[in-house]
């Protein structure tokens, strides 16, 4: 699917550890890209590349946790693995809450590190696939007009045409026409399928799917 090979981006300010861990992962069969600071990584990384990040938690300037939050704001957030000389509890908790893939000691057994990297690469490729699927689905929804989207929101909530017509202040027959247009454009056969596709594409947020109060 992708033209890129998944890359392990390694970020550590300690040049000699950076070289050593890069060699180990290379020897373990991974493609690696070393960076000696979080800023370098954010500035130089290929924004669309698949892979994962293996970052030192303690770095001068921008540390591992800062990197984690900066990475989370990009359109292609890679899973992040933390390496630490000695992890303290508060930063471990923060890292895990921020969605860290794993937390490894610098002198952890080799197998543990290689496994964790493999796991996060797998996770990244799954995430990328589902992101790609979602994007495809979303593209189909782009064909819908604003009114059709409004009608769709009501339909997936299981509401009757009559109710939709009353809510939107349009004729029931118009609602039926919109529904036909929607099913045709999205190529679905049933209301059940329509609902599934809509949820998968993440078109509506959870709040929009709840009934208005008092009804």
């Amino acid at each position: 699917m992708s033209v890129y090979q998944p890359t392990v981006h390694i970020v550590d300010d300690d040049i000699s550890f950076l070289a050593a861990i890069s060699r180990l992962l290379q020897a373990g069969g991974f493609a690696v890209k070393p960076f000696s600071s979080a800023r370098d990584f954010l500035a130089q990384r290929d924004a669309d590349a698949p892979g994962c990040v293996l970052a030192d938690l303690q770095m001068p300037g921008m540390n591992g946790l800062d990197l984690q939050s900066a990475l989370a704001q990009t359109p292609n957030p890679l899973p992040i693995l933390f390496l630490t000389g000695h992890g303290d509890i508060p930063s471990t908790v923060r890292a895990m809450r921020g969605g860290a893939e794993d937390f490894l000691e610098k002198r952890a057994p080799k197998e543990k590190i290689l496994d964790a990297v493999k796991r996060s690469l797998t996770r990244n490729s799954c995430e990328r696939e589902s992101r790609a699927r979602q994007n495809e689905l979303r593209a189909q929804f782009d064909a819908l007009s604003k009114r059709e989207l409004q009608v769709l929101a009501h339909v997936v909530q299981g509401r009757l045409n009559k109710q939709i017509a009353a809510d939107l202040g349009i004729h029931e027959r118009t609602v039926k026409l919109h529904r036909t247009a929607i099913t045709t454009k999205l190529g679905v056969q049933s209301v059940a399928e329509l609902t599934r596709v809509t949820l998968q594409a993440g078109i509506f947020t959870a709040s929009k799917l709840t009934f208005p109060k008092g009804q």
């Binding site: 000699s16 060699r23 180990l24 001068p60 000389g85 610098k106 002198r107």
Partner: protein
């Protein structure tokens, strides 16, 4: 400096003895009382002055007794008992002053040892604070060594391993081993029991070594550490370990001072310069809350502390060390917040005469 002091002591004591005997002679004191007073003067001098000056003063006292004190006669005495009396006086006063100076030397030695012992305790407790940072500092090269060795093992499993790569790995392993070793050496140097050993020390090396020790700790606390030491400063005359101890103490205090301040603005800077009096002045400043004016002096008092777990000995020890080097250590507040500690050290003579 010392010679001048001895001469002054001798002059003052001689003057005192002459006036004492003259006054006693006028008041018709007997020889025994004058002799006793002279012994007291000699003993007092021997307590505050050196051995040389006390011997000199004892001889002056004997001459005063012989020439001025009653019965007023010159040194042409017929009675051999007079010689015996003067001889006895000399012997007694010199013995007493000798004893006194022995006692004083002993006390000084004790004091000196005690001071070194306290300084050593201070260093050990400082190292205790740094233990986790130092462990990290050693863990780093050890981790690199481990990963390099594992990588080499994997490379060797290839049918035709890249020998250049493996050579590079071995070179790196060797370098990281030295790095871990130097951390341990630095630590051991500071932990060793150690007599004051003053010699010319390069300020840049001194500051650099201390910075290497606290670097990890500073990063963990999100503090930037800046060093500004001009390259052409003459070496200072000092004991490397003790001066490092002072610097370490000041930097660690700086780091502590910024607990709870804004993470964006945490800076400890160490600067060195040649001051107007031709000493080297080293300053450690932080961007913490500073020291309230009433505490600027008291921070140097033993057992005075503002930290919840502090012993209150760090700055007291530091001041003692710097004063033993003939320098000064004092605290100031910066205009834009934060405290600054400055100390001076004398320039090593060899370099100053060049």
């Amino acid at each position: 400096m010392h010679k001048f002091r001895h001469a002054a002591e001798c002059a003052i004591a001689s003057l005192a003895l002459v006036s004492l005997t003259v006054v006693c002679e006028r008041l018709h004191f007997n020889l025994t009382s004058v002799g006793l007073l002279c012994v007291i003067v000699v003993v007092v001098i021997s307590r505050i002055g050196s051995l040389v000056s006390s011997i000199f003063v004892a001889i002056v006292a004997a001459l005063c007794l012989a020439y001025i004190a009653p019965p007023a006669h010159s040194f042409r005495v017929d009675d051999p008992l007079d010689y015996v009396a003067i001889g006895a006086f000399l012997a007694v006063s010199l013995t007493i002053s000798e004893l006194m100076s022995k006692v004083r030397q002993h006390a000084e030695r004790e004091m000196h040892l005690l001071r070194q012992e306290i300084a050593h305790v201070g260093r050990v407790s400082m190292m205790g604070q740094l233990a986790s940072a130092l462990a990290h500092e050693i863990n780093q090269p050890l981790g690199a060594i481990l990963r390099n060795a594992e990588a080499a093992e994997l490379f060797l499993q290839n049918a035709s391993p890249d020998l250049d790569e493996i050579r590079a790995i071995l070179a790196d392993i060797r370098r990281d081993d030295q790095r871990a070793g130097s951390v341990i050496d630095r630590m051991r140097g500071l932990l060793k029991r150690h007599n004051l050993d003053t010699r010319p020390v390069d300020v840049g090396d001194l500051v650099g070594d201390v910075a290497a020790i606290v670097r990890t700790d500073a990063i963990a606390r999100h503090v930037e550490l800046s060093l500004e030491v001009p390259g052409r400063l003459p070496p200072v005359l000092g004991d490397r370990v003790h001066v490092q101890q002072v610097l370490l103490n000041l930097i660690l205090n700086g780091l502590d001072a910024m607990n709870g301040t804004n993470r964006e603005n945490r800076l400890v800077s160490v600067t060195a310069r040649l001051d107007e009096t031709h000493s080297i002045e080293i300053a450690v400043s932080d961007t913490g809350h500073g020291i309230s004016v009433d505490k600027l002096q008291r921070v140097f008092d033993p057992f005075f502390t503002t930290k919840p777990n502090g012993m209150g000995m760090g700055l007291a020890i530091s001041r003692t060390i710097i004063e033993a080097h003939g320098g000064k250590l004092w605290a100031e507040n910066k205009n834009d917040g934060g405290a600054i500690f400055r100390f001076t050290l004398p320039i090593a003579k060899e370099a100053a005469s060049q």
